[in-house]
Amino acid sequence: MTTTMNHPAAAAGKSRTPIIERLNIVTAFALGAISAFVVWRLALQFLPADSEVRLFTREDKITLLSMIAWFVGFMTGIGALVAPFRWVMGKDLSHDENMFLAGKDMGIKRYFRYTTDHKVVGIQYLIITMVIFGIGGILAMLIRANLGTPEGGLIHPQAYNSIVGTHGIIMIVGTIIMVTGPIGNFIMPIMIGARDMAFPRLNALSFWLIVAAAIPLIWAQFIGGISTGWSAYNPLAGQAPLGMNGYIMFICIFALSTMVAGANITTTVVRMRAKGMTWNRTPIFIYGVVASVALALPAFPVFFLSQVMSGMDRALDTSFYNTAGGGSGWLYENLFWIMGHPEVYVILIPAVAALMEMAPVFTRRPLFSFNVAVMGIAGISGLSILVWAHHMYISGWAPLLNAPFMLTTELISIPTGMLFLVLVGTLWRGRLWMTMPTLSIFALLWNFMIGGITGIYLSDVPADAFLHGSMYVTAHFHYTLMGAGLTGALASLVYWFPKMTGRMFDKKLSWISFWMVQIGFNVTFGGMFIVGLQGQPRRVEAYAALFNRGNLITSIGAAVIMSGMLVLLYGVISSWRHGVVAPMNPWHAKTLEWTVANPIPLENFAVLPVVTSDPYGYGKEKK
């Protein structure tokens, strides 16, 4: 592994089990719960009462302190602090201990510990992504059930607002990690010919931070919920019930996780590519993953900060966002979207790049215009930092800035067009090997085209004055994040499933679920475009009779998507348990991950590979 110091002191204390071998998910939850309870009790006892004016700050303080205690307790309990603590004490981890952390025993238990092996972290990410999509999907179904009839009425308005907010934020988190988490951690290091990530312990940290973050969000549901939508605009968030603190903690911890993962993945790719893997020979998927996490690096600290300020406004009576105290809601909107717009490309780029990686494999020809693909990814990443205020055209914040932001936003269509060129160029006169990932390339082109064109309407200030805040926007970003992003992620799952699990993904089930999801998806969000154009605002729990038909179509479509996803879920479970055992390279692809045996040995490569060409040389030898 990385640091293998054989410290005499550690070897001497062999008689008792080292502390790191005792820590796991159970101790983490236990310590987290205990410290949350203790701090809650202490705060309840000793925090002074507030003045009459701000009745709720005391409860906010208590909630936030308890959640912070949970976080510290959980991270201690999982063992995140052992190695840094030992390092400070001058007693660094021994080789044996490091090998234990890496999961040398290869047992099932390593998935429930602070394991540093990137392949374990990848599987952990895969599972948590599936759990997040499961919960988010159920919430989506509740929303659609409520909107099946105009009066709503199935769900209570507060609960409805909270379901919408929770669905939004966890799906955003789910889609952020859906490719870079499972595939980026499991496959990416092997793809570049490395034995692990640059910072294996940070890798484990980034995963367990997400688990730690999940609890405040669940907690929030029982103390008033997240009644503000996923964007949690202030001053509405300042008015929201205590559940808002759960959102704040969730975002802060998740932002930490993203920053840690971003630093780790970027370093790994820059420093640890195999010998001979020049930038021109680096697979396009790697570019996608790096662009994504590198974009998150400037974006998520801002998100973190925006929520810290939000929490301070609630608990400490500051007024960053409160006009009455000299603050401004526009400040929040700016901070939020400075994160928010790069963030959608954090989601989108790796999914598109994954499909660009698969396109040559399934057309049996080289990737078309590798350089254009790289430039497209770089162009999107660069421009995405400069477009945030297109979410604020009609906020009244700075009408004079509308024109420049319209310019930067519309410029993004140029690098986005480059990605289309690369994909259709690769399809051009290829020999299509019809698999679920192949179909996904077409689905991506279809959905992303619709998402992209509707994005151009929305980028236009006058058209946005009509469309902003309507269901049209909701449909648009589902087309990009789900129609393009999730499509790429599901294709990635099927494509890399043989390497991750050693078994092939059931072909028939992958096809069935593909068609159900894609058809259901287009029905759902086609209907949503209609009601948006008719004038239905977002995030409403009841609507005028006019919007009846479109909403009914959408609700039916959503049920079809859900069915398709359930088929996929069954496909994952059954293929993982008793699918056909996969050969080493089932797709006859040329990237490095297919050169290692199944199951992959602990350190991937016995001898580090040397790369002599790009991985797209299909048919070259025939010349």
């Binding site: 507030d50 009459e52 004016v53 701000r54 009745l55 709720f56 700050t57 159920i138 179904m141 509740l142 059930a145 009066e151 199935l154 769900i155 209570h156 308005p157 507060q158 609960a159 379901i163 009644s227 202030n234 001053p235 509405l236 300042g238 008015q239 929201a240 019930p241 609630r314 409160n322 059931d506 028939k508 089930l509 069935i512 009841a542 609507y543 005028a544 009779a545 006019l546 049920a559 859900m562 069915s563 359930l566 088929v567 879920l569 069954y570 496909g571 059954s574």
Partner: protein, 259 residues
């Protein structure tokens, strides 16, 4: 074939789970049941039009000491203001299991009497200090109603507005309904005597002399409306519109006009 059946079973199972969660969420909805207006003969407007007549009696309390009005999951909130059903003479109906969602017949006159047991302050938007949308755009105000003697302690007077620095709460109906002429009613409810309110609260009850507002509205076409209080009377959070103001069935409810 076996795989397809198993996949189908997963789908069925999945929807079962969703249905289960949906039922749980629907059941947990802390919404009070519906209260129908009481029939009371006919009502003739000053213009001479006659409508079937109904009545509704409500109270506004400085606290929510009894939970039934706020639905199953709502419950008592001693630090929240709230509406609730009232008896004929403004007596609190502590046992009532419904409270804030009303069903009234279309094209009828509904006379609403509201006893206001809370103190008050200056309203942030004096638009809502005026009586709007009632018959004649007026309401009848009794500044002190004696709830023990069941009689007016001060003379009833017809008002079109109340001083904007003496507002306790408002009763404002507005809504989603799609009719071209939507019902909009907003009646300010004056504050009760501050000292009496505080004294009564310390004694664990309500002031003997609440203010009483009576007004009649014509319900119009059928449709779904809501009502809420437009006087910011929630806790100290932004604009004082949190807690009781942002939780259904305390300072808000449905107003359903049925054909």
């Amino acid at each position: 074939m076996k795989r397809i059946l198993a996949a189908l079973a997963t789908v069925v199972l999945g929807f079962g789970v969703i249905a289960g969660i949906g039922t749980y969420v629907a059941a947990a909805k802390n919404d009070s049941g519906l209260t129908s207006a009481t029939a009371a003969g006919t009502f003739t407007t000053p213009e001479g039009k006659t409508y079937p007549h109904y009545t509704l009696n409500m109270n506004v309390y400085p606290n929510s000491t009894f939970g039934g009005h706020h639905g199953a999951g709502g419950g008592a909130h001693p630090d929240w203001v709230s509406y609730g059903l009232a008896g004929e003479h403004g007596e609190p109906l502590t046992e009532a299991s419904t409270g804030t969602n009303f069903v009234v017949p279309a094209h009828s006159a509904v006379t609403i009497t509201i006893w206001q047991y809370d103190s008050g302050e200056t309203i942030t938007n004096d638009f809502f200090a005026k009586v709007r949308g009632t018959v004649g755009n007026t309401a009848t105000l009794v500044e002190r109603y004696d709830t023990k003697a069941h009689a007016n302690a001060t003379e009833a007077k017809t008002v079109t507005q109340i001083p904007s620095d003496g507002v306790g709460h408002t009763f404002t109906i507005h809504g989603l309904a799609d009719a071209n002429n939507q019902v909009f009613v907003s009646v300010p409810l004056p504050m009760s005597n501050d000292d009496e309110v505080t004294a009564a609260e310390e004694a664990g009850g309500f002031t003997q002399f609440p203010t009483m507002m009576t007004f009649t509205i014509i319900t119009g076409d059928e449709g779904e409306y809501v009502w809420n209080c437009e006087f910011p009377c929630g806790d100290g959070t932004v604009a004082r519109f949190g807690s009781a103001m942002s939780t259904m069935s305390y300072m808000s409810g449905h107003w359903i006009v049925k054909g």
